[in-house]
């Protein structure tokens, strides 16, 4: 399959076109074709994982054609250890979110078309090797997400959609400045990340710092890092469940992926110089996210803030600037995507029955919905980092990595972990234990809902018991990355 990456990226777009043709009233057919196309994408990504050669850390399945000749912008794609796990995560969560979209009853055709465009944007971002191409896919994600939150969202959807859109757009415009600046300051003027990686290392640390600042701001808003995180809870609270899964599962990773793919190789001097502030930001993210989440009454806002604190771990991993740290942060990204995606699906299950997200409204769910209680407990334990489940491995590697570089930051991170534990345990206590309130008599999870959650549970267990299943893909790429520093 010579152009497997292009097929993966543009298959959802093809799906969007096919969906456009189907008349709007045939909702069942629309849902089926959307799911079919997403399944096809998942199949292609699966094939990609199988064909991927673990030992070779460099770019594989690379495609490189000239796009805008005069300026030297090339349509170049490639996948390596860093992006493979995230592409698989995107395809999987996209497929599951598509299945979980049966709750969407209004304007179904529009929903799925916009959803497919979103998939294209996300897959493209992870596979692009040209800065402008990366930026283009980065922007294509914004518009569909804006519509998904803005049209099918909750009561305050416009506010949330606008806030999300402008916040991320402001950041990405500054990134555009950075891209143009890199193009002109790098000796052989080029946009390709690979050639830039070799040439920008020679730039003076101050210049690298400035460029890093521009890129980092866009990624910081997306990750989100402490001061720029206020769009996340609103976007999550107002987004419908499947969109929330994608938002938490994939969009947050685009920021951290940017750090690993662009900032580390292109600005190594700046990264080593600014590693400590990055680590401190990570700890603030971790502790602050857990504290604010603890005080929330809305379950989705709580999980949104908890994913802010999980992203703190990813920042710690990147701040470590060594192979363990990078492995840890990359694994933490993958695990967080799986776990938080599942958490939001579970919240969707309860929201669909109770039509409220106030934690006070639930109580004693365990006796009413035992199967749901099992899955929610499982996922809560995974996200608080219980060893034996995937959450722990990522966090452990990040902490181990950052301990070598900055012991005090790691100690603060480990202590911050306790806040995370308290957060999720109290959530379980409030939601599941205690005596069931009046009117709490909802049916347990149906077969379809279980089938959506099951693959995520299996992956969490598999990565928890045998982390090498994911680590083997990224080890060699990260060794090459570390050699660049």
């Amino acid at each position: 399959m010579p152009h497997i990456l292009s097929t993966i990226i543009f298959l959802p777009l093809l799906g969007a076109l096919v969906l456009a043709v189907i008349p709007a009233r045939r909702e069942a057919l629309i849902r089926f074709t959307a799911a079919a196309f997403n399944a096809a994408v998942l199949g292609c990504v699966g094939a990609l994982c199988v064909l991927f050669n673990h030992q070779n850390g460099g770019m594989q399945f690379a495609e490189d054609h000239s796009w805008i000749g005069q300026v030297g912008i090339r349509y170049s794609l490639g996948v390596d250890g860093v992006s493979l796990a995230l592409v698989f995560l995107t395809a999987l969560l996209g497929f599951l979110a598509c299945l979980a979209s049966d709750r969407i009853r209004t304007k179904v055709k529009g929903y799925f078309i916009v959803f497919q465009i979103l998939m294209t944007g996300m897959l493209g971002t992870f596979l692009a090797l040209d800065l402008v191409l990366f930026y283009m896919f980065w922007e294509t994600v914004l518009i569909p997400m804006f519509f998904l939150i803005g049209i099918w969202g909750g009561p305050r959807r416009e506010y949330a959609a606008w806030k999300f859109f402008f916040y991320t757009l402001a950041g990405s415009l500054i990134m555009l400045l950075g891209i143009v600046a890199v193009y002109f300051w790098a000796e052989p003027h080029s946009f390709s990340m690979i050639t830039l990686a070799r040439s920008t290392a020679s730039l003076s640390p101050v210049v690298q710092g400035a460029l890093f600042g521009a890129f980092f701001l866009a990624f910081a808003i997306k990750i989100p890092v402490f001061p720029f995180h206020t769009w996340l809870p609103d976007a999550h609270v107002e987004a419908p469940t499947p969109v929330s899964v994608i938002l938490a599962g994939v969009l947050l990773k685009m920021g951290t992926y940017g750090l690993l793919r662009i900032c580390v190789p292109l600005f190594p001097a700046a990264m080593t110089m600014l590693a400590l502030p990055l680590g401190i930001l990570g700890v603030i993210n971790l502790v602050y996210g857990a504290c604010v989440a603890f005080a929330q009454t809305d379950i989705k806002k709580m999980i949104a803030y908890s994913s802010v604190s999980h992203m703190g771990f990813v920042l710690l991993g990147v701040a470590a600037m060594n192979s363990t740290g990078f492995n840890g942060s990359l694994l933490e990204m993958f695990n967080h995507g799986i776990i938080t995606g599942a958490m939001f699906l579970l919240v969707g299950v309860v929201y669909e029955r109770a039509h409220t997200r106030e934690i006070g409204a639930f109580g004693g769910l365990a006796s009413v919905m035992p199967r749901y209680a099992f899955f929610l407990t499982f996922m809560a334990l995974a996200s608080l980092g219980l060893p034996g489940l995937s959450g722990f491995v990522g966090e452990f590697l990040s902490l181990a990595g950052v301990f070598v570089a900055f012991p005090s930051v790691a100690i603060a991170g480990a202590v911050g972990l306790i806040a995370l534990v308290v957060l999720f345990l109290v959530m379980i206590k409030k939601m599941l234990w205690g005596s069931p309130g009046k009117g709490v008599s909802w049916p347990d999870m149906g077969l379809k809902e279980v089938c959506i959650i099951l693959p995520l549970v299996v992956i969490t267990l598999a990565v928890g018991f045998y982390p090498d299943s994911v680590l083997q893909y990224q080890k060699h790429t990260i060794d090459i990355l570390v050699k660049l520093l």
Partner: protein, 607 residues
């Protein structure tokens, strides 16, 4: 034969998955699945013991993770300590599961209980078999999780739910210490395998800090002084759970960890000193509280904390055999006492010993076995408690300083006192119960008898009659084998005086002039719970509320204000378009004028 050791942990894990997946359909059968796997595990443990006797050794399973370039492999460790603990845990576990078939018979979530028990057994056995600190940490957290799930088993009761969360969080605080210890050792380039833990490379101060942090993890799990508050609250769970987890196995994990890393701790006397001090404080404090509490399960809980304190004290002062021997014997008689208490509560439906009385005549089997257990705990001659406590007396006498020995004497005295008080109040004297009481079914009293036999006979292993079989087995390095007669007489005298004291107060109700403030302090558990509430819990909640408000008010509003400011600017600029043509012309003419002035001034230099 030794190569089958990892199945000991895998079998209960399979039972867990079976019970979870098909719990509802299995119903009563789930009990037999978990008991069956437990029995098989016990047999395997015996086989492994024989294999070990015949020279079996540790073996590695698979590679798992590479951290800082250091490959961490999973493996199974087989040495005397592990085998001993395997036997103890599997035997006690099996007996308790048989007991809980009767105890939990009416419960709606019957199969889920046995699922959790199997998961606990799997984690505990995994913890014992782990050959490196990281794998041990993983099962360490698994055990903590099971204790939380089982304590909060009757989650309808808010107290049980809160106790479960408290248990998990407090042990998690300790586990963070263990995690940091692991991180320090990893960052210094050590491989975390127990085999080479004695020769740890790295700066002295950092490795000592790692040792202290690892002991912090042990303190959390074994409910030692600063982190002991969760154990008494954990009595909310079913009594079978208290017996298995909070008496015999999980709490012993902390002592096991210290014993396992004994070479490492010996290399750092500072850490050993801390172990001994913490042990002493916990022992004294818990024993004093136990003397004044009236809830039967809480007395036994504080007694467990106190006995674990003694074990830590023994290990801290170089008494490796004393600690491990007491660990083994304590597991049996404390399990016996808890199950006896469970049978009493099951029959009398009350936990307050002052409301009981005269049970001896009605519940012959439970009373006899309970009294055997009590005597073993108090350390009376033929029973196992005497022999293991005697080892501790010798160790503390030879190596520890006077303070430790005085504390040991006081703790033994108080132990004998509160056990005698409990027995006298609960089983003898007039019956203060409303309804009549009948003996528990055989399925509950059977394990009691077996445990009583173990409590009675197990001590002889370390006695001179078996010429120090246990000491040889545990490969003690420096102990002087043989009974130190004066030490034995002294410990017996202390125990008898404790029992006489209890007899005087309970039966003769003689008022001893005890210090009133000490009694008040003990009744209120030295206000430790309230201290934590004020120092940790409430500030944390306040910080969270403040940060949530800060997040909403400051950062969120700042972002919205940016939007509002731009809007306001738009409004201001909008006012200029007045719609009056001459106003536009005037501005235009003004513009032309300024343009002319600028051009003539700057460009043509006419001015």
């Amino acid at each position: 034969m030794v190569k089958l050791a990892h199945w000991i942990s895998v079998l209960p894990f399979m039972a867990f998955w079976l019970n979870i997946m098909f719990g509802r359909k299995l119903g009563k059968l789930s009990a037999f699945i978990s008991v069956g796997t437990s029995v098989m595990a016990a047999l395997l443990a015996v086989l492994v013991c024989m294999g070990f006797m015949a020279g079996g050794s540790s073996y590695a399973l698979t590679g798992w993770l590479t951290v800082n370039g250091q490959p961490i492999t999973l493996g199974i460790i087989i040495d005397s300590l592990t085998v001993m603990m395997l036997l103890v845990v599997t035997i006690v576990g099996t007996l308790i599961q048989i007991y809980s078939i009767g105890y939990m018979s009416g419960d709606p979530r019957y199969s889920r209980f046995f699922a959790y028990i199997s998961l606990f057994m799997a984690s505990m056995l995994g913890l014992l078999l782990a050959d490196n600190l990281l794998l041990l940490y993983i099962f360490w957290e698994g055990v903590g999780l099971c204790s939380c799930l089982l304590v909060a088993f009757w989650y309808e009761k808010p107290a049980a739910a809160a106790a479960g969360v408290k248990a998990f969080v407090t042990t998690r605080v300790g586990d963070t210490g263990l995690l940091l210890g692991i991180l320090i050792l990893l960052s210094l380039g050590n491989t975390l395998h127990f085999a080479d833990m004695a020769s740890v490379k790295g700066p002295e101060s950092l490795v000592a800090l790692a040792a202290v942090l690892i002991f912090l993890g042990a303190m959390g799990k074994s409910a030692q002084f600063p982190l002991h508050t969760w154990l008494p609250d954990a009595m909310e769970g079913p009594t079978a759970v208290s017996a298995l987890i909070h008496a015999a196995t999980m709490v012993a994990a902390g002592v096991y960890l210290v014993a396992r890393l004994y070479g490492f701790f010996l290399a750092h006397p500072l850490a050993l000193q801390m172990v001994a001090c913490v042990g002493m404080i916990s022992a004294l404090m818990a024993a004093s509280i136990a003397c004044v509490t009236n809830d039967i399960k809480r007395i036994l809980a504080y007694s467990t904390i106190s006995q674990l304190g003694l074990m830590m004290l023994a290990l801290g002062t170089g008494g490796y055999t004393g600690g491990t021997f007491h660990l083994m014997t304590h597991a049996f008689f404390k399990a016996l006492l808890f199950l006896g208490a469970g049978s009493v509560i099951h029959a009398a439906h009350t936990q307050d010993i002052r409301a009981m009385g005269g049970l001896f005549t009605k519940m012959k089997m439970t009373s006899v076995t309970f009294i055997i257990g009590a005597l073993a705990l108090a350390g009376i001659m033929p029973f196992s408690g005497f022999w293991s406590k005697d080892e501790i007396f010798c160790a503390v006498w030879h190596h520890g300083n006077m303070w430790f020995f005085a504390a040991l004497i006081a703790t033994s005295f108080m132990t004998a006192f509160y056990m005698a008080r409990l027995v006298l109040l609960a089983f003898f004297g007039a019956s203060r119960l409303e309804k009549d009481v009948h003996e528990s079914p055989l399925v509950m009293t059977g394990p009691l008898v077996v445990l009583a036999a173990f409590s009675a006979g197990l001590g002889l292993l370390g006695s001179p009659w078996c010429h120090g079989a246990f000491q040889h087995f545990i490969q003690a390095k420096d102990e002087a084998i043989g009974l130190n007669v004066p030490m034995a007489i002294c410990s017996t005298m202390v125990s008898l005086s404790g029992i006489m004291g209890a007899y005087m107060i309970v039966v003769r109700n003689v008022k001893f002039p005890t210090w009133t403030w000490l009694k008040k302090m003990a009744v209120n558990k030295y206000y430790v719970d309230e201290l934590y509430e004020v120092v940790f819990v409430r500030p944390f909640q306040r910080i969270c509320v403040v940060s949530a408000v800060f997040d909403g008010a400051c950062i969120d509003r700042a972002v919205n204000d940016v939007g509002r400011v731009v809007g306001a600017c738009g409004q201001a600029v909008r006012r200029i378009q007045t719609g009056m043509i001459d106003r536009y012309l005037l501005v235009q003419a003004g513009g032309v004028l300024m343009l002319l002035v600028f051009i003539l001034g700057k460009v043509c230099r006419i001015f």
